[in-house]
Amino acid sequence: MNKFFTTKLSIVVFILIPIIFLWHPSWLGFLGVQPYWPLFWLLPWSMINGSINGLIFGLFLGLILDSLTINSDFTQIPGLILCGFWFGKIKLHSANLIIGHFRYGLICSLGSFLCGTIYFLQILLKNFLDSTFLLLIPSIQNILAEVFLTGIFAPLICSQLLRMFKFSGKK
């Protein structure tokens, strides 16, 4: 059992993402918004396994998260696929440890901005005639709060996950 957990750690953490997404711990939130949890897993996974794997698992994550939310008209898949593909292109090694940590924060922030913007564009297109101008300010606030939180937590979580995934991959 222990061997399974150490070798398949990335899969175990993958299963935990929807649970955290549903749990929505409000004490971690800012303006009622949570960090964009799937990116914390997708970044180290794609960096280790490459763009194609990142793209495929971005699709899988999107499918799971879409099934958990009830907004049937909007999807998180395009954002996660793009992020998975992009994260796979990023080089693993960094000369400086601290710069590496901050780099994860910046990359996840940009990824969160990309996913949030794509999601917002879908909402905007659907409500183009009805309430476009009303949606604008709350949506920008949501995107910025999510980008901020994702950027803050990414250096802590991503660097740890990357270390753990590399370690479990060697075994």
């Binding site: 009830i70 907004n71 909007f74 909402i123 309430s131 009303l134 949606l135 949506s139 949501n142 709060a145």
Partner: protein
Amino acid sequence: MLDIRRISTSRWWHKKKNWILFVIFLFLVFVRISKGSIYKDFYYFISKPFWPGQFQREVLLKSVNQESLIKLNLLKKDNARLREILSLKDSSKKDNISAAVISRKTGSWWRQLILNKGAKDGVEIGSVVIGPGGLLGIVNKTSLFTSSVTLLTSPESKVGVWLDRVQINGLLVGLGDNYPSLILYSNDADIKVGDFVSSSPSSSLLPPNIPIGIIQSIDEPFKAKKTAKISLLGKPHVIDWVQIIKVKI
């Protein structure tokens, strides 16, 4: 000569009775000057144990509550009878299902609750979810054991509402923040901050007269539309138990 001499002990001030009468007289003079205040204060202390106390207040409150409940039930019955005559939508209390909130997302884009009652318990898509304060949202998905509720604040939510003071229908649109927007398709609607918003009596989706919120601010009219921000009465981020009301079609 000696016989008619008055004995000193028989003078009036030597009699105790006279002094008592004098004291009473003085007391009455004081009472007269003080305009009876000493009497009133004395009455205050001796009547204190017999005042209408806490117990009597509770009894009266209970009676008032009972009276209000009876009136409410009579009005409900009357309302149901009239709605039946007009063939409007209604819901009955026996259709209510109590459910606990097992997951809540009240921030960002995904504003939803997941409840611990599902298709197994008779929850149907389109059922209305209310909590302390009023309407929270509408059931959008059900699984065997759970149901997902789209909150009024979700960008997907659009419900018809009623402003009782100005007798006008409007559309409540979720924007992805905590204050959904009320859209009135009439530029000259006389709405004010503090106006009460409830579910529309003529709605085909919601049971009538469920409290929803209060107008918090009014925006400038734009293209024959008037919009206002609504502060919801039901607070989904703190509510743990809700009622699911089945809507009869």
